[in-house]
Symmetry: C2
DNA sequence: GCTCATTTGTTCGTATGTATC
DNA sequence: TGATACATACGAACAAATGAG
């Protein structure tokens, strides 16, 4: 449950709405990791008494945070910190389709290897860490039906993910990167930025995707962030789009 | 302003929340085009009296519709039907960047030509119209800085856009397709579906993009929809990604 | 620049409904 | 069954922005 959430707390009585101040206070507990994904936050009544505001005001702050996907409410049970898996259907990186009709195609993820490498540009710049900081490099291939579709190389700052090899290796062959990171480090994914372009397959990519060296492939660079716009993963994706295409929806 | 919004209207008193019923009623006025983009809807007090509910209930229905981008509220002024331009920064099709850093790059749109063509598959299937229905075909090129970046071919159902040539030709050289369609036909864009893959430039594409015939290009198929998931534009985009890439954010 | 009617925004207090355990 | 939790709804008061006079 919760912790050190006792005693009266005060909000200022200036021009900023009370519900908004409260909303920011609650958000801070989540972003600072005091309240962690999947766990309940204090009850509405508890919050109302603690901050000496009406239930309606708490309700408004809570409703807003729910819309922002920071939390989710279950009537009669409680209010819980949001998780990527539950909230963000839209944020999934890999969505395969043949066409606009029909559903997403299933795929399996195979882990190729994980190792530590020296930091490099532009990765370290995008990840907002020093040039010299080391990175975990995770190579994976996404297989759908007949063959390989995506070759993905992810880079994570070693400093943010201590012991990643041991903790995540088992998970990564059964689950996505998001889930692994959220489970092991409590960091939900909040935002993904993507850049789409064309690349020519180098020897390694060609081998993994079972295509000719030098064939054109769809090249997707991705930068994933967690709370406070903190980037944590830089990923290079090489897509073989002969049979399956990358699908996105904008709403 | 509004119209035929007088007299008492009733909501059922069943298990469905009043605010939700009201929300759907208001949405219907918008989807049916009774209230059009940019115009004000009746005042909250007016709505509260008309449906015989409290202001709080109206506020909740209105707030939800605002989050859904159906409307936007201006304190002291009124509540207005949403427009694509104002609401949907995220839905813009063409976002150019060199990198994750920096801002979106500017570009100009040049209209190549507009004509009427016979319907064809898969376009007519995606647009949910009969095989035989004719289409408007709009060819445009997007130019950024040094040269052409995107060659876009759009298909619109002639039946939905009577007189498109006359109405839109002037607009299309200065504005986006969204704006042109919203201005002339009152249809805001609500959703975009996209499929990313690789294509090889045919003679026409190569000429427009000033590249070699047969060069690989980023191929983006897009299907835009308005209210009620009604598709209205099928677009093929050929991207030359040497210097500028296609940028997307998922939140 | 000021006042005033209109409109949306905020907050409280209270009561009742409904899901969970 | 009862205690707890969130959800809905009302009414009232005041705040803040807008635009007209």
């Amino acid at each position: 449950m919760s912790n050190n959430f006792t005693g009266k707390k005060k909000l200022t009585s200036g021009p900023i709405p009370v519900y908004y101040q409260l909303q920011k206070e609650l958000k801070k507990y989540i972003e600072d990791g005091v309240w962690v994904p999947g766990e309940p936050i204090p009850s509405s009544r508890n919050i109302a008494e603690t901050y000496d505001v009406s239930m309606g005001t708490v309700q408004k702050a809570v409703a807003n945070l729910e819309k922002e996907k920071y939390i989710y409410c279950v009537q009669g049970k409680g209010t819980f910190v949001g998780t990527t898996a539950i909230n963000k259907e839209s944020i999934r990186y890999t969505l395969l389709r043949e066409d606009f009709e029909g559903n997403d195609l299933q795929f399996k993820i195979k882990l190729i290897d994980i190792d530590k490498v020296d930091g490099f540009q532009p990765a370290n710049r995008f990840l907002e860490i020093a040039k010299s900081e080391a990175l975990y490099r995770i190579k994976r291939v996404f297989v759908s039906g007949s063959g390989p579709v995506v070759y993905a190389i992810s880079y994570l700052p070693c400093s943010m993910f201590e012991g990643f090899e041991e903790k995540a290796t088992k998970r990564l062959s059964r689950t996505t990167m998001y889930e692994a990171i959220e489970m092991e480090y409590g960091l939900p994914t909040v935002k993904n930025k993507e850049l789409f372009s064309i690349a020519l397959a180098d020897e390694e990519t060609a081998k993994v995707l079972q295509i000719q060296k030098g064939s054109p492939v769809l090249f997707v660079e991705m930068l994933s962030s967690t709370y406070k716009e903190q980037p944590y993963e830089y990923r290079l994706g090489y897509w073989q789009t002969e049979k399956r295409k990358l699908y996105r929806e904008l709403i």
